[in-house]
């Protein structure tokens, strides 16, 4: 397992003596390849805090982690001999708010910033920049623009490109599709799915969109008030009756399936994953 958390808690320090316990007692492990995970949960449930541990930006205040063989706990920060930088090459994290990630004069400089830091030659980095900018749905003319004059959605795409160019083993995206138009959102999700399927990489996406969870993810993590309350199959999650208690919604396809089932009074086979599968299931149901 590439990422391993053992009873990890994290407390934000503030001047107020009581720190804020943002995640509590989280135990999980994530493979270095072949996983497609979504992380969901209410606003403020600690999702962003959790993923910032996965590339050692934050270190647990309680508990232990093991990231690509490097052991990290609350004393790690003081021991300078533990090198955290290599972890960040392997685990690429796209931040929730692109403003903090973009700081160079031009988009191109910003995209090559990561690869250059990890020792990729300038020519190679620029080559990658030209590729990834297209992957995220922008054209090459954007490379010369200033990242600060872009629209919110364009910024988001550029910030994703900056991480893709690092070619990490594990790709973590904190709400990558928020603020994007529906077409753009679906196109990007397909990109992440391709990265997962064709390159067999592990992708973890934080999202508030249950359809994404249901259609793409093989595994879903649910955070609630800092606690990891569910880790497993999305199908099972949505077949439980009490997901409303976690303030989660039912995906559109399942709503449609239920609606069809009651309207036409037919038996539709359990949990279709996509529109196509639903269509097939309806056909089956009608036949019977």
């Amino acid at each position: 397992m590439a990422i391993k958390f053992e009873r990890v808690s994290y407390q934000y320090q503030s001047i107020d003596k009581r720190g804020y316990l943002a995640i509590e007692d989280v135990t999980l492990s994530i493979a270095g390849e072949g996983e497609f995970i979504t992380l969901i949960g209410e606003t403020g449930s600690g999702k962003s805090t959790l993923v910032q541990h996965m590339n050692a930006l934050l270190q647990p205040t309680e508990g232990r982690m093991n990231l690509f063989g490097i052991k990290i706990d609350k004393d790690t920060k003081r021991q300078k001999k533990v090198k955290l930088n290599p972890i960040r090459k392997q685990v690429g994290l796209v931040f929730q708010f692109p403003e903090y990630q973009l700081f160079e004069e031009t988009v191109q400089k910003d995209i090559i910033f990561g690869p250059r830091n990890f020792g990729v030659s300038e020519a190679e980095a620029i080559k990658r920049a030209k590729e990834v900018i297209k992957v995220v749905g922008l054209d090459e003319s954007y490379l010369k623009r200033s990242p600060f004059n872009l629209s919110g959605g364009e910024k988001k795409r550029v910030s994703i490109a900056g991480i893709l160019a690092m070619e990490p083993d594990i790709l973590i995206l904190d709400e990558p599709t928020s603020g994007l138009d529906p077409m753009g959102r679906n196109a990007l999700l397909k990109v992440f799915n391709d990265i997962h399927e064709k390159l067999n990489k592990t992708v973890l996406i934080i999202t508030h969109d249950m359809n994404t969870v249901y259609e793409y993810a093989k595994r879903v993590l649910v955070m609630r008030e800092g606690v990891l309350v569910y880790d497993g199959d999305p199908l099972q999650l949505f077949s439980r009756r009490n997901i409303e208690n976690w303030n989660l919604e039912t995906p559109e396809i399942l709503k449609l399936q239920k609606a069809l089932q009651s309207k036409f009074n037919i038996e539709i086979d359990n949990y279709p994953r996509s529109k196509k599968a639903l269509f097939e299931a309806v056909k089956e149901g009608v036949k019977q």
Binding site: F95, Q101, M166
Partner: protein
């Protein structure tokens, strides 16, 4: 970086929170003036003790004030050392011969190297540093070996010691007082208070409202900008900037790459803030009414009397005693 508390309001209870901001600002100025007038060490110590009592009654933890002082520790130590080393007036209090021989210089070099190599593993760096300095002085002063290079002396003069302690205590008092003010006063209250304290300046056509607004916005945004800097550092670290490591040149590059987005973000912030204020019909210079009126209470009068008493007391002591 996270623990810088200058300008941050910390909610709490205690009499300092219920005081009128005007009272706090005026009392702060009076007390500061008082500490500049005092010229006896004993009285300074009394002043410090008084502030300690204020903290105690106001239920403000010493730790918070210490956090406010911490960024200044370096400055404090520097001024202290500077005074001790270069001020040679007054009575000679203490003299310590120093022997600069190959042996002692070698040993001290060893101490310095040890310090550089081990400092990152030590938690209390400052204490460790002071111990090392003391150790070096000890080596220089005790080992008068034959292979002599030369001899000097470490001297402490009365005035130097007094000035050093003085400057230090004054700085501590000033910073503590202002930390108390910002910890216990909401930015909006601070703004109101400043505005009405500055009102007399209106006679000479100074735009006091704007000044008060500028000051309070600046104070308000220090912690926000620090948070922002922290987030940018995280974002850069996640793209391979190694803030742990790096030679001087790399460190400078890192700071530059931090400053650029900081500036851009602050300009954007101020733009947004201006828009937000305009969207709520803020017109500079227009007379405004307030939702919360400041109310002067008996406690405020008492505090002001106390502060005036302190100031006059220190003038009296300075002139008469």
């Amino acid at each position: 970086m996270k623990n810088i508390v200058i300008g941050r309001y910390v909610p709490g209870k205690g009499f300092l929170y219920t005081l009128d901001p005007r009272t706090k600002i005026i009392a702060l100025l009076l007390l500061m003036a008082g500490t500049f007038i005092i010229d006896e060490l004993i009285h300074m110590v009394v002043a410090i003790a008084m502030i300690g009592i204020i903290l105690l009654i106001g239920k403000i933890s010493i730790r918070r004030v210490y956090l406010g002082l911490r960024p200044l520790l370096f400055l404090l130590i520097f001024t202290f050392a500077f005074q001790i080393l270069f001020n040679t007036q007054g009575e000679l209090l203490y003299e310590m011969p120093l022997y600069y021989s190959p042996l002692t210089i070698g040993l001290v070099a060893l101490v310095v190297v040890t310090w550089m190599l081990t400092k990152k593993y030590i938690r209390f760096k400052l204490i460790y540093f002071l111990i090392m300095v003391a150790l070096s002085l000890f080596i220089f002063s005790t080992l008068n070996e034959p292979f002599v290079f030369g001899q000097g002396a470490f001297t402490v003069y009365e005035d130097a010691l007094q000035m050093a302690l003085f400057i230090m205590l004054r700085l501590i008092i000033i910073v503590t007082l202002s930390t108390i003010l910002t910890i216990t006063t909401k930015p909006t209250d601070l703004n109101l208070g400043l505005e009405s304290v500055l009102k007399p300046l209106k006679i000479v056509r100074v735009n006091t409202e704007e000044i008060a607004m500028i000051i309070s916005i600046a104070l308000r945004y220090i912690p926000t900008l620090l948070d922002e800097a922290n987030k940018i550092m995280l974002a850069q670290a996640s793209r391979g900037v190694d803030f742990q490591e790096g030679k001087l040149k790399e460190k400078v590059m890192q700071i530059v790459s931090l400053l650029v987005p900081m500036f851009i973000i602050s300009f954007k912030r101020s733009d947004e803030l201006a828009n937000a204020m305009e969207a709520r019909s803020f017109v500079p210079g227009q007379p405004r009414t307030r939702l919360h009126q400041l109310v002067w209470k008996t406690l405020d009068t008492l505090v002001i009397i106390f502060a005036i008493g302190f100031l006059f007391g220190s003038i009296y002591i300075r002139v008469m005693v």
